[in-house]
């Protein structure tokens, strides 16, 4: 149980720093990079939650979300490429 508390506190620290950069970020590139970091962290949170609950159905969510967040980042990158 101590391991879970250490994992959760580290994940919450990383998520809060990424969230601060998303909310404050001056340019769009900062926001998009922080959003990508946040996607990876959230995927890890869902996998950890599947481990805590011992329910394999949550792993499907992590799989679908990881694939689609990659698609989202690629689309934003294409938009930024066409801008300048």
């Amino acid at each position: 149980m101590t391991a879970f508390i250490v994992f959760l506190s580290l994940i919450i620290l990383g998520a809060l720093l990424a969230l601060l950069r998303i909310l404050l970020g001056p340019t769009l590139s900062d926001r998009v990079a922080a959003l990508d970091i946040m996607n990876v962290i959230i995927t890890g949170v869902i996998v950890l939650f599947a481990l805590i609950e011992e329910n394999a159905l949550f792993l499907d969510i992590a799989l679908v979300y990881a694939a689609l967040s990659f698609l989202e980042t690629v689309v934003v990158a294409r938009y930024l490429e066409g801008k300048k």
Binding site: L23, R31, L35, I61, S69
Partner: protein
């Protein structure tokens, strides 16, 4: 777990308000994506995996992609 749900709910509401009130449209799209991401976590914490799968596929993938392709097609008419 309830403290984490509380924090996630507050950040979800704040990001939704920023998505409505932002000056640039692209910032609105990014904030909408953040709100969708936090909604997925909220559904997972509420133990509703099927709703979370649907929200992840529609909210994170489809909506952001369609909005960004529309913004790219609109092009110069968006004020900087």
């Amino acid at each position: 777990m309830s403290v984490i749900s509380f924090i996630i709910g507050i950040v979800l509401v704040v990001s939704a308000i920023i998505a409505i009130e932002a000056k640039k449209l692209i910032t609105s799209v990014v904030m909408l994506s953040l709100a969708s991401l936090l909604a997925v976590v909220s559904f997972v914490l509420l133990k509703a995996p099927d709703v979370a799968i649907t929200e992840a596929s529609v909210g994170a993938g489809l909506t952001t992609a369609i909005f960004l392709l529309t913004l790219k097609r609109l092009g110069r008419r968006e004020s900087e």
